[in-house]
Symmetry: C2
Subunit: 235 residues, 2 copies
Amino acid sequence: MALNQSSRTNWQKVMAEVERRIYTREWQPGQSIPNEADLAVEFRCARVTVNRALRTLADAGLLDRRRKSGTRVALHPVRKATLQIPLIRKEIEASKKSYGYNLLLQELALAPEFVSDRFGLASDVLLLHIVALHTANGKPYVIEDRWINVSAIPEVMSVSFAKLSANEWLVQSIPYTHGDIAFGVLNAGKEQARLLGTEPSKALFEIERTTWDHATALTTVQLVFHVGYRKHASL
Amino acid sequence: MALNQSSRTNWQKVMAEVERRIYTREWQPGQSIPNEADLAVEFRCARVTVNRALRTLADAGLLDRRRKSGTRVALHPVRKATLQIPLIRKEIEASKKSYGYNLLLQELALAPEFVSDRFGLASDVLLLHIVALHTANGKPYVIEDRWINVSAIPEVMSVSFAKLSANEWLVQSIPYTHGDIAFGVLNAGKEQARLLGTEPSKALFEIERTTWDHATALTTVQLVFHVGYRKHASL
DNA sequence: TAGTGGTCTAGACCACAGA
DNA sequence: CTGTGGTCTAGACCACTAA
C-alpha cells in the first residue's frame, strides 16, 4: 500500500495509486481489479472514498466499470479533452490583449435553409441576423455570424448590438438548457478575407454552435477565426 | 421543493432543481444561493447529496464556489465541451465504415527543430519518424505524421508498423501520464493534397498531440484530416 | 475567528447484470 | 440468485478564506 503521494485528499491519493498501478502495468489493460470493498480494506479507508477515486478514473476513460462484473482497466483508453468555451471578450482579455468590437450588420432577414432546418422552422420565417467583428489589440480576431430565433426571444428586437455583442448579451440574458458545437475548417471567402486581413482561400478555423431551450432553438452562430488561431486543451 | 424530476438518483434531482432555478432566474447570475446545509434541510436530504449536485454544476461552469463566501451563480458561464479522442480505427468504425491503413514511411531521422524543441532534446538526436494514411471505405481519412522518442521507448525499434498503426500500438503498449492537444488548420501542401485526394491549398483540419511520461516526452503526432472533417461535441 | 465548502467514515439499502 | 457498483445518511473533522 503506497499512499504517500503528494496529492492532498485521500481519494486523490487512492486515485494516484490506482493510476500508478495501471501505468506500471501492475494491472494490465483488460484485467479486472479488486472490488471496492477489498480496495477499501487495503487502503484503510471507507468504500465511498475508493468509489470516488475509481469513478473519477472511469469518467476519464481509464477504467470500465459494470455492476456485478466489476472494474476493469480500459483496453482502449478513450481519453477526453475538455475545451473551455469562454466569452470571446474574456478569451481575448485572458491573453492580455485589448478587446474591440464592431457591429457590421443587424437586420431581420429570411433565414437561409440550413438555418431554418437546424431550427426546425418553416423556410419563410424572419430571423434576426447579426454579423460582427471582434478584435484583439485592434487586429481582427473572429467574425461572429449569428441568427437568432426572434419568436423564442422576442425581447431581442429592442436590443441594439452596436456596443454590446450578441455573444455577450445572450450569455447574460438568455439561459439555455443545452447546445451542440462543431469544430471545422474553411477556405476564406473574399469578404471573410477582407474582414480578417488576409487573402482569399486561406485556411480558417471555424466553430459552429447552436443552443436550445429544451426543444426550441434559440440561436446558432458561426465563428470564423483569424489565420493561425488554434484551440488548446490537455489530456 | 420540487424534486419530482424524472431523473433517477436523488443528487441528480437536486441538481435538476438547482439548474431549473438558475435557468428561470429564480437565482440570478452573480447572486449567492443558500449554503449546503440549508439546501439539505429544504430538500430533506444529506448535505453530501447537495454537495455532489452543486459540485457537479460547478464543474460544468454554472456555479462559482468558494469557502466561507459560499456559492454563487456564475456571471459568465464558461461552458465546457468534452471531446472524445478515440483510436482512429475506432472513430472510423463508429461511423460504420471499413477501416484501412497504409504505412508510408518508417525511418530513423534527425528530428526537425520544432520536434526536438517540444521534446526538450538536443537537435542532433535521432527519432523514429512514421507517416501513415488511414482510410475509411477506401477513401483517405487522415494522415498520421508521428515522431517517437526512441530513447524513452527503445522497444519501438523492433516493431513494424506495416500492419498495425503506431496510433494503435502506442495506445496498447505505452501508457502515458498526461498530454496536450491542439486543434488547428492548414492549407494543404502538394503531398498532403495528393494523399488526401484533393487540391493543394484546400483548408484541412489538423490536430497536434504530444504525450508525456512525467517529464519525458514520448511521442508527438500531427493528424491532418480529409476535406470536410468536423469534430462534434455537446454543451 | 467564524462560516462555508471539502472530505471522510461506517453502515445501509438499492439497482443492475452475470452466473 | 448473488456479487458488484451506485447511492444515501448522519455526523464529524478539516481547510480555506472573507470579514
